[in-house]
Symmetry: D2
Subunit: 343 residues, 4 copies
């Protein structure tokens, strides 16, 4: 049990937005078909199609990000094909080899901020020249990234064009898409124009579980449910994914929740900046990396939970602070007050 004042470890420390729980309760005894053929999933898909402004996209709900990543990547690559990722990409670091377990190499490139540029992608393509090497066939980006940065419209447009020109599938991991959209001012209908396939993260934006995979590219749609089933992703009670996404995309709840996460992070980073501290990367979304003296970190740890991620020099380290849909402003104010007392 968490005995501290608050945990900034993750944006999945709480359950779900209350209206989602209520909807689960309300619909609980309506008998439904299994495996995603329930009326809630069907309605939620319609709703997301409307949000996107395109009834032709295919939508599938799965339970988590690693599951979404491994299904998407393994479904469309031939055995000798690889996926290009930033070295900080979730698929490279934190999925216990999930992609390789499906048979595919992740070709990585170091970046300064977790974001792939055309130069990065080109550099990977350039060194793969013949059949003794894997063939890069997909570009993977996370948006927002593992470092809390997001892609601008222009950046996405460039990668999109490059991928089309070079016959690469463009896949966007949107485990934290809400925060990226809110921060960048883009909408899901912008995203769908740039990428071949992406997903809308529910778990980290107010749902209990759930990611909505959106397939924009016609050629990728075929028999996707077989591939979900094979990886154990077709939930018998798929209704619980449908109910949640239906609620998230009713009355803009999805965006409201993401706004709260970003807004409280901004409040937090502003307060920290005002005290003269720097950051590992410029704060952009709901994950920030302030640099604190080690003894200050120790004192903060007595009352707050968070991860220390990088040693900056002998006496300073970067910590990762994550706000969520559920973080309240007074929590931030209280934290900042405590911080001011300590410095």
């Amino acid at each position: 049990m968490n005995k501290k004042i608050y945990s900034f470890k993750n944006d999945y420390s709480e359950g779900a937005h209350p209206s989602i729980i209520n909807k689960l309760k309300e619909t609980n005894f309506l008998q439904q078909d299994g495996y995603g053929d329930d009326q809630f999933s069907l309605k939620a898909k319609k709703k997301i199609q409307e949000e996107i402004g395109n009834n032709d996209v295919d939508i599938h709900f799965v339970s988590g990000g690693t599951q979404a990543n491994l299904i998407v990547i393994s479904s469309f690559l031939r055995p000798h094909e690889s996926v290009i990722s930033a070295s900080t990409g979730h698929i490279n670091v934190h999925e216990a080899g999930a992609i390789e377990a499906t048979g595919h190499k992740v070709c990585v490139v170091d970046t300064k901020d977790g974001k792939l540029t055309l130069d990065h992608i080109q550099s990977v393509v350039d060194i793969h020249e013949d059949e003794h090497m894997v063939k890069p066939a997909m570009v993977y980006i996370s948006n927002s990234t593992e470092l809390g940065t997001f892609y601008t419209k222009d950046e996405l447009e460039k990668i999109s064009k490059y991928c089309k020109d070079n016959n690469l599938i463009f896949f966007l991991d949107g485990a934290r898409l809400g925060s990226a959209l809110v921060a960048s001012g883009l909408s899901v209908s912008d995203i769908v124009n740039f990428v071949d396939i992406f997903y809308i993260g529910g778990t980290k934006n107010g749902a209990l579980i759930g990611e909505a995979i959106v397939i924009a590219n016609e050629s990728l749609k075929k028999e996707f449910r077989f591939l979900m089933k094979q990886k154990g992703a077709l939930l018998a009670k798929g209704r619980i994914l449908g109910v949640q996404f239906l609620e998230l995309f009713t009355n803009d709840l999805f965006y409201e929740l993401a706004k709260n996460a970003n807004k409280t992070a901004t409040l937090l980073s502003k307060g920290i900046k005002d005290l003269g501290f720097g950051f590992l990367a410029e704060p952009q979304t709901n994950i920030i990396f302030p640099i604190f003296p080690n003894d200050l970190i120790e004192k903060l740890s007595d009352k707050y939970d968070f991860y220390v991620t990088d040693k900056v020099d002998e006496s300073n380290s970067a910590v990762r602070l994550v706000t969520s849909w559920a973080t309240k402003e007074n929590i931030i104010n209280e934290f900042l007050k405590y911080l001011r007392e300590l410095v």
Copy 2:
């Protein structure tokens, strides 16, 4: 949307037992660590260990049956090893090649009732004689089976001994373990003595999602969470699995729910028998296969949902009727009344 009186298609047509939903609501805003390190999962594991009467078993929660099967089987077999299953086994028929996708052959044998006997197992072992063939290294049974039958204590004991003597891992798929336990009079602590690893199905016995994998064999425990993560089975909000299993194993709810499923099935099969109809297999748990004339089936279909599974002869077919934790006796009585009117 389901416009009929009732659906006997599955035991996962409803949501969860109300007390589970309430518990999710009640605990919703308590901040918790992710990926199964939450207090609810820890308590639920303790609770199940107590139920089993053994604090040394390892317990892990995953979201569904196919996921549990593919993780368990791929975690312990070397690449050339295979798993023995009844040809009707879920892993052979209804998992879209999930086991093969992890690299392993399923060696199947036909049975009369979905249950493996020593003769079945021996017959598979016998024909695998050298390194040109796979090496059977695991026995998979489902209990209760896909045909609604269950294993007796004596049957489990025999397979258990055979597996130990022949160096085979004994794995029990308990997606419907509740109904099997109630029907056989066995407990989870009986099961744990016979098998190396099994799981306790929540999804089909009153939870929204969730199967509890129990590892009894010490040698299989190591680093199992890596394997769960790799297959996308570590939920960020693992708390929702913990909360549900904690509730299921409080006040015997798990058993009460299974009893209701079996009891209503028994009421149903008795009523059908009384009308003179036969069955594909002797009704034993919550899945029954009565044989009806085709024109009767058509009339029943107007008001009830169920699957027609087997053509018996030109004018008769077997249908699959499934009751659940949520099926009420009056639903059965109403169905039987309608049936009597039709015959």
Copy 3:
């Protein structure tokens, strides 16, 4: 060391036809590019294209049959797709799970003579109805089969049409294609019209190692060398495969060797028939299955090597006798003489 008069165990008991060994010697010091880009491989491919009468087919050399099968099958199937095979098919029984190790299920059907018919194929297709099951996407046949039978032109034509109509890839394992062609009166240019991809077996027809994979279907040609490399099949000294196939397709050596294998088998089966013995399957190529009394088998075993494959009744068993490109007529005559002495 083999102390017996002769071994009928296999058609790969000897090395290679002397002209092949001589060619290896003769070309030994000519420097060549690696991995199949040598002049001998290039010439051999041209030669086989001429033999086929089609310069558009792609040809690749690999070292053995299991390697050919696993590369071909895994290269063209998506993860959820399966291959249909006779239960006696080499990929199902004698490849230690090689196909499953690449992630794909082998859907099998029992046959009377090792040959798939349209009914067999249809029966597999029929029971795979939704995304909870694998999707059959390829038909695999071996010709000649593991039981020594071969497909007629008409039979191949029917399967070919069915596969085209049902969007199935038609793959022919030709580890013993030579014997099948000679027996059926078909040519490789007949074969190429029926199938999408097949291979021409060298190992069992007079080469040291080597199978020539022929890709007829344009859509399967792309980047095949990547897939060969990934499975360890691109030999650094690919020249040795080129040299051998160049020699095999010079002066009809390939056909001459197959003729010898079939001819000596025919002599053998005729002699056995004349003594009144029956066969498990009607002898058609270079593998025959006479049924002998067990005590006779024991006596034969003193002087000859062969496999006992099936117990027919208490006192009789079937044995497998294989002749090869290297079997001489006098060996057969001697065997028959000895047999006549024993009965």
Copy 4:
């Protein structure tokens, strides 16, 4: 066809040492059992055990390096385990994702000379801290390396101790082991003391094909032939591998051939040094990387075949020159004479 004076592209440009070809011819008609159970393979294994001075090691012959690597690595790792390699390692760059295709991540680290040190290995181990990441469980080195360097006794000893202490399998890729042994003054019996498993490369040291895998660690021996079969590595005519290794380890042929490769490379590098040119890495075995002006490279290319590997600056590049068991001194002298004329 190669119209140039000589190719320094590879050490597999010629066929096999003549005595190997002769032995294949001489033994050609002796009937043998298949799949490595022939007398030549058995004798060759005995011979290599004697050379190693240990009758307990298991020995298996396969046809090539990528095949050896993928079988060894996939046979002993559990699904979540990874292998540590230099970023220049063959398994990381030039095997078309063969290791990932078996399900395992290759964890790479940059080195200056293609050689792993304890610091490199430790750095990989250090960052893999929990179940969200793969677990490094094997260390892979190639000796000699892809950059022509070799490991000293002391370096091997240190890695060996580290692996034992940290429960890592130590695997040595010996595709060019001959040149490494000759250069380092070590023997195969030294190697066997340090590693758990390694292979002795035949293909690049005078054989047509063939690598001899040596398993020193008792716990890795079990059922290895199943794994070879599954990956398509059990050749029907395994005799051809046996015959070749038997010959290589008769009268020290293996060492004589490696000596020739190293000696001619030394002659070559000395001549190049005398002309004042530098090298990308200090020449140590049979692969050297001199740095030449680009216009000189162009002129050399008219008469000689070799790879240009690295752009050093605007006007200079490194080329890769490889000598082999078959390279004659006069070829080197001729090359050097031509080089002197050009500078």
